[in-house]
């Protein structure tokens, strides 16, 4: 997303890289600086109850407090643990189901309408029902994440198998491969790239489902922490929660998903952008 590739700017001669970097840096930080300045100055200009927008100092104080007493780390750990468990369960079910659908026309025809429907309601809409079934807490949240990840990844697995060129099928077959060897030598590796690249989208849905279901059905975790704070009007907790939710996503995106993309591209050269 660097501006240098834009249509309009291509015409200008290339500025020195150092100068362009400096410009990008100060322009990019400008809106953040403005927002912080407004946040800082607003209580002095307008009279409003502090619970509507706590001061920067209050947020920092709470950040310090929650880091020192370990409660923030505990909430982050709880959220990430559930996300991971839900992800593993969802993927473990989605890949075999996706292979069955992609490889067998009868299975596909029979389950397509049902699965499209279940996919349409996947995720957060299950929370009220899971609260009855599993109670408030881990069970409900993990069910919702696994459910979300399953339907997001199912699609990727099917697409992955279907995008394997027919010529490769014929090649394996004409060399006498069939059944299990077809599966392990062609279909699984062929579909793997799409499955891996699809993890980012699946996780985008899964991450939302995690935060949302913790808000309604959690007993700890980041979503629970921010929603619980509404009742006590502790807005500084909400804001810290939002920042942490944003930061964790950025870190996951930068480390895990980008690495997956680079590795898969490096190996199979398939990225389309």
């Amino acid at each position: 997303m660097t501006a240098a590739t834009g249509t309009q700017h291509a015409r200008r001669g290339p500025a020195p890289i150092a100068q362009r970097r400096r410009e990008a840096l100060w322009l990019g930080t400008l809106p953040f600086a403005v927002a912080l300045a407004i946040w800082w100055v607003l209580p002095k200009l307008v009279d409003y109850p502090p619970y509507m927008l706590p001061s920067i100092a209050m947020v920092l104080d709470y950040a310090k407090e929650s880091v020192l007493d370990g409660s923030l780390a505990k909430n982050i750990g709880a959220s990430l643990g559930r996300l991971l468990l839900g992800f593993v369960i969802g993927m473990a079910l989605a890949i075999p189901a996706g292979l069955a659908i992609a490889l067998n026309r009868h299975v596909a025809d029979m389950f397509r309408p049902v699965l499209s429907f279940l996919q349409a309601i996947a995720g957060i809409a299950w929370v009220p029902l899971t609260i009855i079934w599993f109670g408030v807490g881990n069970g409900s949240v993990i069910f919702v994440i696994a459910n979300t990840i399953f339907f997001a990844s199912l699609y990727n697995t099917v697409i992955g198998v279907q995008s394997i060129p027919l010529a490769l099928h014929r090649a394996v077959r004409s060399h006498g491969g069939s059944g299990l060897s077809l599966l392990t030598n062609l279909i699984l590796p062929g579909a793997l790239v799409q499955i891996l690249l699809g993890i980012r989208t699946s996780m985008a849905y899964g991450w939302r489902a995690l935060v949302a279901s913790e808000m309604i059905a959690g007993s700890n975790g980041l979503g629970f922490m921010t929603m619980e704070a509404v009742q006590w009007q502790r807005t500084e907790v909400i804001i810290l929660g939002m920042i942490v939710i944003g930061l964790i996503w950025v870190v996951m995106d930068r480390t895990v998903f980008t690495t997956i993309e680079r590795r898969t591209v490096g190996r199979w050269g398939l990225l389309q952008r």
Binding site: L27, D109, R112, P113, L115, A125, P128, Y155, M242
Partner: protein
């Protein structure tokens, strides 16, 4: 995303094959319903814990007769369309601005990337503090969800607009506004539609969640309230209506629009770029 499991190649299929597929699909639906009905005595719990299909049909008839379901459906749709429209307009506007204006791009890209990472779900608590439980909170959350996919896809469309055509219009004496109208927007359109479709999918879940938290009407509220008032069959009615509603939106609105724009513009743009 809910192009889903289908992913059928876009050529017409013979009627017999389609009919056979429909029949098998119906068999799948009936199998699911049958398994559900058969499992009710096996689970052996109250209808509060595990309602049967018959309970759900009764609840559905009841909700329709009392006029609750139509009102909830209309409320949800109005919120959804309002959020979708405003979010899409903002996304397209700012996408074009960032795509064409270098300074705006440098200034706003990091901010938007940061805001995009704070998912809309996380904004709902603070919206509740600021605007209370109600329509404002819901619509704002929806605007937030739709905005980013539309923004980034518009941006992509604007930046891949063929420079050749921009130069052509300019050298034939066209104004900047004409470049925008004749080159940039048409070539960004497939991207805008893609963004809208992605956004519409996220927003639909966002709608249900926001209504669970912050509404007193709507499909999300129906799903939530059903279990709160020990009428679990109502919750399942809500989930079924939600699923069918999304399939209908996808099938009758999003896909035709996507098909129309991609057929009209998508391929031409590709061909021009290769030329």
């Amino acid at each position: 995303m809910s192009a889903a499991i289908t992913a059928a190649p876009p050529r017409a299929r013979p009627f017999g094959r389609r009919f056979g597929r429909g029949l098998k699909g119906l068999a799948g639906v009936l199998l699911l319903l049958g398994a559900w009905q058969a499992s009710v005595p096996l689970v052996g719990m109250s209808s509060y814990f595990y309602p049967s299909p018959a309970d759900v049909i009764v609840a559905f008839a009841d909700l329709v007769r009392k006029g609750i379901l139509p009102v909830y459906l209309a409320d949800s749709m109005i919120r959804y369309l309002t959020g979708l429209t405003i979010g899409a307009l903002l996304g397209v506007g700012l996408g074009v601005l960032i795509g064409l204006h270098r300074t705006a791009s440098l200034a706003l890209s990091p901010l938007f990337r940061f805001l995009f990472a704070i998912v809309e779900v996380a904004w709902i608590p603070i919206f509740v503090v600021w605007f209370g439980y109600g329509v404002k909170t819901i619509v704002l959350a929806l605007i937030y969800v739709v905005f980013f996919p539309v923004l980034y896809n518009t941006l992509l469309g604007v930046r891949t607009a063929p420079q050749l055509l921009v130069n052509a219009v300019r050298s034939l004496g066209g104004s900047r506004l004409q470049v925008l109208r004749l080159v940039i927007l048409p070539s960004a359109l497939p991207g805008i539609i893609t963004g809208l479709r992605v956004g519409a999918g996220f927003a639909f879940r966002g709608l249900v969640f926001a209504e669970i938290v912050a509404a007193k009407t709507g499909i999300g509220y129906l799903i939530f309230e059903g279990t709160q008032s020990q009428q679990t069959a109502r919750t399942i009615v809500g989930m079924i209506v939600m699923g069918l509603l999304w399939l209908a939106i996808d099938q009758f609105y999003l896909r035709p629009i996507e098909r129309a724009t991609i057929q009209r513009w998508g391929l031409t743009v590709d061909a021009e770029q290769q030329a």
